[in-house]
């Protein structure tokens, strides 16, 4: 094992070090400065990247759990904004979190927030342009989701409500939670991340659009899940949220 490999391992597990040069360094009290700095860097990043999880469990619990995760999965590169790709999966397996079954999915929404925050810039589709299109042409039109749009359906638990109450100002926190599935749509209109509730049909509609299906087929997928789905309202909500990217296809269709 190289010196740096032995040093790196000793940062997380000094007792296991066998390299004599590294053992000599571990013996100095100042070795703890490196251990503390590396761990603090990991924990600060995870706490910043998973604010709703941290708010739900409190900073002490969060950092104790995050320390176990950091030792097993240090950051992959210097972009600490992206650190915690596996944190939701870690929480899923983390026994002390078993009483908080919503925690992993809340972490997944925190991760989606970061993806949206850092996603490429692109002009969203202008709803007014779409409305000028003849209705019969809509069905064959393919809309692509905006690169800064993310959506997820959580079938078992009200993840959107739990997450959004712990991200924003928490004004709605007094209302009783209805324990059923919920979906979340995150977009970035006007350069700030925004979130909206979305139903299962809406998620299926966006999934279909993302896979390149035209609106007619996407609508069928939505209706399969919810026969009463109000497609016009759903499309309007998605457009207003900036869920689609502006497309040349539309320009061609209207010309």
């Amino acid at each position: 094992m190289s010196f740096q490999a032995a040093f790196a391992q000793a940062l997380f597990d000094p007792d296991a070090a066998t390299d004599p040069a590294v053992r000599q360094l571990i013996g100095q009290p100042a070795f703890a400065v490196y251990r503390n700095t590396v761990m603090k860097g990991c924990l600060d990043a995870l706490e910043a990247n998973f604010p709703a999880v941290a708010r739900l469990v409190g900073s002490d619990w969060f950092r104790a759990a995050a320390a176990l995760h950091a030792a097993a999965s240090p950051p992959r590169d210097g972009r600490l904004l992206h650190y915690g790709e596996d944190f939701a999966d870690f929480l899923q397996r983390f026994e002390p979190a078993a009483d908080l079954p919503y925690l992993p999915d809340v972490a997944r929404l925190d991760a989606l927030w970061r993806e949206v925050h850092a996603a490429p810039d692109a002009a969203p589709l202008d709803a007014a342009r779409l409305s000028r299109l003849a209705p019969e042409r809509l069905a064959s039109l393919s809309l692509r989701p905006h690169p800064a749009a993310r959506w997820a359906w959580f079938a078992e638990q009200p993840i959107y409500s739990i997450w959004s109450r712990n991200r924003g100002t928490g004004h709605e926190a007094d209302e009783e939670l209805a324990w059923h599935g919920e979906g979340a749509l995150l977009t970035r209109p006007a350069d700030a991340v925004a979130w909206h509730p979305i139903d299962r049909a809406g998620c299926a509609f966006l999934d279909a659009c993302a896979s390149g299906l035209p609106l007619g087929e996407a609508a069928e997928q939505a209706l399969t899940l919810d026969a009463d789905c109000d497609l016009a309202t759903m499309l309007q909500t998605l457009l207003r949220a900036g869920a689609f990217i502006n497309t040349d296809l539309l320009t061609e269709s209207t010309s």
Binding site: F3, A30, F31, V33, D77, G78, D121, R188, D191
Partner: protein, 283 residues
Amino acid sequence: MRPPALSAGLGLKAEHYDAAASAQAEGLWFEVHPENYMVAGGPRLGWLEAVREQHPVSLHGVSLSLAGESEPDAAHLHRLAALADRIRPALISEHLAWSGWKGHYLPDLLPFTRSTEALHRIAANIGRTQDALGTAIAIENPSHYLRFDGHGWDEIDFLAELARRTGCTLLLDINNVHVSARNLGYSAEAWLDRFPQALVSEVHLAGHSHDPALGEALLIDSHDAPVAPEVWTLYHRFIARAGARPTLIERDGNVPAFRELMHERNVAEAALHESAGALEALS
């Protein structure tokens, strides 16, 4: 194109974007960690560009791992070059340290034995970086905490030799000089007086703290306090000898209001004006 005249600047904190963009002071500039802006798009780049429209900006990397046993990550270098193209920084710098290991990033500036083998390796890594960026970078002296038995090179000689071989310049962190000298038991003044002033393209100043257990016996480069009086004294000593150099105040913890940081920055600005070198540079 004539490089912008930098005098005293500040590390840019996210909570101060608006204040920084609208701040007006001659020679004011800002420094950021490029890692925080390696995003495909979104508001961060917009905030940085808004500051950049008003002030020079420097990119101060923390994760290239130039002293690493492996080469700098090519994808990371590519992202750094793309950011530099976009921001057109006045300076780009990195540390004489390592932080990468087997596809992982350990968020610290880790130490190594200064051997001739390390010198070759680091010079090659600086060369790769400068080739990717198309410009020279500055290398910073890190804070030291541990005694290494096997150093074959003195730190100043090592830095000067890297500069000679690669054409890089040096970023002199005077808080790190103070912290290292105290931790390892040598004279900060004597060390500073030997530092090759002609190679210094930038100076860093920052606050440090005492180890919670060992107290003054172990100083920590924590960037969470104002610059200490001893560090200001060393700074005056250096610019009296070397003349004015672009000087940056770093603050990463217990971040106060922007005007408080500007006040500290103005102390450095005044010192730069007072030094004979500053007058020369301004004339």
